[in-house]
Amino acid sequence: MSFTAYKDTIEEGDFVFCWISREIIKPIHVKAGEVLGTRFGIFSHDDMIGSLYGAQISSAKGYGFIHLLHPSPELWTLSLPHRTQIVYTPDSSYITQRLGITVGTRVIEAGTGSASFSHSFARTIGREGKLFTYEFHEPRYVEAKQELEEHGLTNVEITHRDVCNGGFEIEENGASKDIRANAVFLDLPSPWTAIPNLSSVISKDSRVGVCCFSPCIEQVTKTVEALMAHGWSSIEMVEVSAKRWEARKQMVRRVDDAVERLRDVKRRKDAGIQRRKDDIAREALEGTEPSIGDKRPASETPQPEEKTKETGFNPFGKGVRVRDGDPQWEWINVSKVESDIKSHTSYLTFAYMDPNIRVVNPVEEVAEIIA
């Protein structure tokens, strides 16, 4: 239920996403008396009951903190372990927008996989919509079925099926169910074997959109050929690439300050030399050495760096731990891309079918023109 509408206060039995860090989001069912162990400490479910969604709570020992978040398909996606097959939000949201999936849309999804996209579909199509999702891998089917039920996604029907061989039709009381899909999403190793099976389950009185999701370009070629062969048109493959950016600060280090620093270093070194010279003079040595043909000292014997730091002109805080944005210095806002980007998820091949479109054979015309 919590996936379909917001509530404000956490009650016993509620589903809560415990936000531990950007990398660790732990979904739990709240049960009085239980605890959640994390690397930031142990958190009592009793403390959660009665808290607001969004609240920050402290661990039993009081020094670690987590946030209690409300379920949403996007958080669910983030909470999944990375090794699972996940359609991430940049892909899923674009597919949803481009296929015009909205309240009331009837959607086919195969395979279910981690069910991350299923949750997103279920949210978007609302009560009047319906998602038919198919999973051929049995353990994954069983897990997804249970999750969808626990999450109260009543507009989703999951079927254990190899749609490539078994097709999409669902028997109910001896008859085929009326699926009438307006949109189809195929995340299969060989979508081209499933495409021929779609004709009986898609809407007969409206335009139908399909999106096939394949990592390799050769799969795209086969998919496009199958789509063409089965009457789909407006075929276009696209890639979605998404990046995450981080706000940073860069210190404004002016060259004038660099010059001043060098001047300062030199001044202090000269002073040191002078001191040394004085010492030498005091000891009444011959005294020619320090000035052989050279007005200024060579830099062979620089001051120890620690000393430079302590006493010198240090406009850039060199050697000191400077916090980004420390108001002692001047900064400009900069941005940095996340260090590891997902440079490829899959190719998205879109196509459309409208059973009502009356076709004149364009080949003849082309042949005519070119001939």
Partner: protein, 424 residues
């Protein structure tokens, strides 16, 4: 409910032309639609067909339905497709053919512009096809070209002369594309993928109650409406006397439905609610009955306005919005601080900007605000391909704009906590 499957009289639709440009058109009864050089058709002719249908313009503003907008070898029914592909590959494999190709230019095209204009004026069915045939016939080098370049040439000519069009549903994506093509700055350079991602990140759905700032002329508003289909509430904060939702005119939603969902409020009303609430007392019925027609109308108009303004102000005062969605050129860092109290616990906040720099500034501010969890800047970009087997490659050039998103979650910090280890 508004029709989304079949083309209906009186509806606003998108007309897609062979040139890949689009037009927004209302299909008034008997109304003629002028597509410039692509011809003119009567609205009535297309009513009843499903969206996505293509047509060819015949004589007398009539049309006939056709299979596709452009004639290419990638038509589904093309029995010769495989042969063409084979031939292409053979051509690619041998460089000899390409050796024959010479530059296509006006120099080698013998048909004059005057001749083309003349043909166009004689008009009628298949005029585009006739022009193309003549051009090809008069093109010395056409038979020397490879299939590959013949097709490119054909496509270009078709885009220029074929009297064809397609009718598409005027959904938010289509309306966005229409404005984006005309002038991207009107929609803050927003791409379809940014719009879609905003909708998902903000968890927009039936029955939600949202706070929106929208400077795209209403594209974001329309996308939200479409994902709510009349159920829920959108409070739209704006900086003028009236919000600019001109895009909603293409949405085919009734004014009643729009008014029941969309609640505009300006920033003065937003930040100074007590001063801006409109005091209102109903007049006794006998006084209303005694009013002249125009006065009574005025009375009701004012009553309505007072109710609306007060309602919007009350919605903002009670806060607890299910999402904050912002697409504005206002200075976001200062806006965020003032508005985020209105957002419910654990609800998403999504900010759109043409410029990443704006969001970077905002993220810096958010990173110090304990009421905000995990602010994250996203850039999403779609790259379309030429999707013809044997010739697959990304399109050679495209618009570079698209915008950036900042996503964050509203949280309630425990008192006395510092920012350390908050997972920002």
């Amino acid at each position: 409910d508004k029709p989304t499957q079949l083309i209906t009289r009186g509806q606003c639709v998108v007309v897609r032309l062979p040139s890949e440009l689009t037009k927004m058109v209302v299909l008034g009864q008997g109304k003629l639609v002028n597509l410039g050089k692509f011809g003119t058709f009567c609205s009535d002719e297309v009513v009843g067909y499903p969206f996505g249908q293509s047509f060819e313009i015949l004589e007398d503003n009539k049309v006939k339905p056709i299979g596709a907008l452009l004639q290419t070898h990638d038509e589904p029914e093309d029995a010769e497709y495989d042969n063409a592909t084979d031939e292409l590959i053979r051509n690619l494999a041998s460089s000899e053919n390409n050796q024959q190709i010479i530059n296509i230019g006006t120099k080698i095209q013998k048909m004059t512009t005057a001749e083309i204009e003349e043909l166009k004026e004689t008009g009628g069915a298949g005029v585009g096809k006739q022009i193309i045939e003549k051009i090809i016939a008069s093109h010395d080098a056409f038979d020397k070209k490879t299939v590959f370049s013949q097709e490119k040439y054909l496509k270009r000519k078709q885009q220029k002369y074929l009297r064809r069009f397609t009718i598409d549903y005027a959904g938010p994506s289509q309306v966005l594309q229409f404005y984006y093509q005309k002038d991207p700055s009107r929609v803050l350079d927003m791409s379809e993928e940014s719009l879609g991602m905003m909708m998902n990140l903000a968890n927009v759905r039936q029955g939600g109650k949202y706070l929106l700032v929208d400077e795209t002329g209403g594209v974001v508003l329309y996308a939200m409406m479409e994902r709510m289909r009349g159920e829920g509430m959108i409070v739209v904060a704006h900086e003028n006397e009236h919000p600019n939702h001109s895009v909603m005119a293409h949405s085919n939603y009734s004014d009643e439905l729009i008014d029941s969902v969309v609640k505009p409020i300006n920033w003065l009303q937003f930040f100074d609610p007590e001063e801006e609430k409109i005091g209102w007392t109903d007049f006794p019925q006998d006084i209303i009955d005694g009013m002249t027609g125009s006065k009574r109308q005025q009375y009701y108009r004012r009553k309505r306005r007072a109710t609306d303004v007060n309602h919007a102000i009350n919605l903002v005062e009670s806060g607890n919005f299910d999402a904050l969605i912002v697409a504005t050129t206002l200075h976001m860092p200062s806006l965020v601080e003032k508005v985020l109290e209105k957002v419910g616990g654990s609800r998403p906040m999504v900010f759109y900007s043409q410029f990443k720099e704006t969001l970077v500034q905002t993220q810096h501010v958010m990173a110090k605000d304990l009421r905000v969890l995990a602010p994250t800047i996203f850039e999403t970009r779609v790259r379309p391909y030429q999707t013809i087997p044997g010739r697959i490659h990304p399109v050679m050039s495209m618009r570079g704009f698209g915008g950036y998103l900042l996503w964050a979650t509203r949280v309630f910090p425990k008192e006395g906590i510092t920012a350390v280890g908050r997972g920002i």
